[in-house]
């Protein structure tokens, strides 16, 4: 396993938001993380990627402890994330956002650097071809991000995360707020990313059709703990998952 998180626990005052959570992810695998609102899914992701400092637990990534590292240190280790709500960044274009991701990786290569001297043409061409085109963003590469509709802003945020060339990608509700057509397009993009870059993907999501069709394995959280983990088909038939999250049929 490339990522092995165990016993991750974080408390906010008296509230135990994540309680003894464990999750694994292997390269080339898409792991879905589902559960009711307030189950601690996003909080768990925030613990892994350095936004929160958990009270207990370990998260080993290729033998290195991730918990407690800052997001920019994590990016250099190949751990990137996307956000549930996309910040509207004034004046920055889609290409600028992608360049921010490329910069976060901290590559010293001169052709890639957004330094004071030298042209960025090579970097721009590379980002456009390898990231923006597959994400259907090539035609809006030079458009300010805040003028774009929500779905495209989310795609731009994904492009930023991918520009850091991550080996572990954490997606926080990549499909939320998109139309169902956009959602299916985004799901196809995520599978394409996994196929092309071979990264491990952990995906927090509510839309069950997307989760079922995209994920190789699904973990279900409720009240801060994992209540089930298994293949997509098994999730839907598990009585406990039906009770706390999916609801009984009929």
């Amino acid at each position: 396993m490339a990522l092995t998180a165990q016993n991750v626990t974080i408390r906010f005052g008296g509230v135990v938001a994540v309680n003894g959570m464990a999750l694994d992810a292997a390269p080339g695998e898409i792991v879905g993380l589902i559960g009711p609102n307030g189950a601690g899914k996003t909080t768990f992701v925030n613990c892994i990627c350095g936004t929160y400092r958990p009270n207990a637990g370990t998260a080993l990534w290729l033998g290195r402890e991730l918990l407690g590292l800052s997001p920019h240190a994590l990016l250099k280790l190949g751990v990137a994330r996307t956000f549930q709500n996309v910040a509207s960044l004034h004046d920055l274009t889609v290409l600028d956002i992608a360049k921010l991701g490329a910069a976060a990786r901290g590559d010293a290569g001169s052709a890639r650097s957004g330094g004071f001297f030298g042209s960025e043409k090579a970097l721009e061409a590379e980002l456009t071809e390898t990231l923006l085109r597959p994400l259907y963003l090539a035609d809006v590469a030079h458009t300010p991000i805040q003028t774009l509709p929500y779905g495209r802003r989310k795609a731009a945020d994904l492009a930023r995360a991918l520009a850091a060339q991550p080996q572990l990608l954490l997606l926080d509700e990549p499909v939320a707020g998109l139309t169902s057509q956009e959602g299916m397009a985004m799901a196809a993009v995520i599978r394409g990313v996994r196929d092309r870059f071979g990264c491990a993907v952990i995906m927090v999501e509510h839309k069950m059709d997307v989760v079922m069709s995209t994920c190789d394995r699904i973990a279900v959280m409720a009240a801060g703990s994992k209540i089930f983990e298994g293949l997509p088909d098994a999730v839907q038939s598990d009585p406990e998952v039906r009770r706390v999250y999916l609801g009984e049929p009929g």
């Binding site: 960044l89 004034h90 600028d96 035609d139």
Partner: protein
């Protein structure tokens, strides 16, 4: 930067330099005052308009530049090296002032810069061997590359040249990784952190670079006035510079220049009007009031600043492109979205 913009900047600078060499002393004085204020406003615009760190210490930083350049010049250092030395020293002081920004945000940090302004003003008066105390430091006529700057016309041309270099360097800076990081830090430090931007390092660079440019502007002020005194670098001056970037338009690069011209020339214009109608005494009493009133009117009617008027004046300019199509389906036509927030 586009070649067209570069050529435009060069052309404007060439015209201004030629003009300032041809102008009378008063004209040259005005060009120099606007150019130097423009450099200082560019520096503050980097900090406030681009990186979102409000600072009231710009006046004192200009003072640091004036004292350092003045002392170096008086010691026989060439004007160019003296200006660079002033830049480096002021960058260090600027970074020091920026330290509280690692802990404080927004208005709380702005208050900390007020304290920095007060402390520096106090030091200007107290460090007599270096600053000449309350009476100030008399600065000898500078020489650039060994050529003495004898006339106001030449010093105006030098100021315009430095302004051009500062403008080119700062507009270029915003096209780098660091420049993009400034913008993200301005919008949200939480987002910047999540994107993997080292917020502390980014802010430190903003303070240092802004301080460097402010130091050079301050050095030019000192060389122009031949005097650096504590009264010249008070909080009033900081307020003037904040007014410049607000009147001009925060976060644009034409804005600080337009704002600098406005803030420097407006009192002169009011003076002229007063003389023309023989009400100079009345108007000079009302000058500060009229100035304040105009700034308030700007904030009400043109909050994006004077520079936002420029594109509207160009009637040939096409309208901004409509909303771009949404995330496309694979191989299919683009689908429409409401583009709304998540439910």
């Amino acid at each position: 930067m586009g070649t067209r913009r570069l050529l435009l900047a060069l052309a404007v600078a060439a015209v201004l330099i030629a003009l300032s060499l041809l102008l009378g002393r008063f004209g040259a004085y005005l060009v120099r005052a606007v150019a130097i204020a423009g450099i200082g406003a560019l520096s503050l615009n980097l900090l406030i308009g681009y990186c979102g760190q409000i600072s009231f210490a710009q006046g004192a930083l200009l003072g640091v530049g004036a004292y350092v350049a003045g002392n170096l010049g008086n010691a026989g250092v060439d004007g160019v090296l003296a200006l660079l030395g002033a830049g480096v020293a002021t960058a260090a002081i600027g970074a020091l002032i920026g330290l509280p920004a690692l802990r404080l945000r927004g208005l709380y940090f702005a208050i900390a810069t007020l304290a920095a302004q007060a402390i520096l003003e106090y030091l200007f008066k107290m460090l007599e061997p270096f600053t000449g105390g309350v009476s100030g430091l008399v600065i000898r006529q500078p020489a650039f590359f060994g050529v003495p700057v004898a006339s106001d016309q030449v010093s105006a041309a030098v100021s315009v040249l430095v302004l051009l270099i500062a403008w080119l360097a700062l507009t270029r800076l915003t096209r780098t990784n660091l420049g993009r990081a400034f913008l993200v830090v301005r919008e949200s430090e939480v987002v910047a952190k999540g994107m993997g931007i080292d917020v502390a390092r980014t802010k430190a660079w903003a303070f240092a670079i802004s301080g460097f440019v402010a130091g050079i502007a301050g050095g030019l002020i000192g060389f122009a006035a031949r005097l650096a005194s504590p009264e010249a670098f008070t909080l009033d001056l900081s307020a003037d510079y904040i007014a410049m970037i607000i009147v001009g338009g925060l976060g644009s690069w034409a804005g600080p220049l337009v704002g600098a011209a406005f803030v420097v020339l407006l009192p002169e214009a009011i003076q002229r009007v007063g003389e023309a109608f023989d009400i100079a005494n009345l108007l000079s009493a009302l000058r500060e009031l009229a100035f304040g009133l105009l700034i308030i009117l700007f904030l009400i009617f043109e909050p994006r600043g004077l520079s936002s008027l420029l594109p509207r004046l160009r009637w040939a300019q096409p309208r901004r492109r409509g909303a771009a199509p949404s995330l496309g389906e694979p191989g299919g036509a683009a689908v429409a979205t409401k583009g709304g927030e998540r439910p």
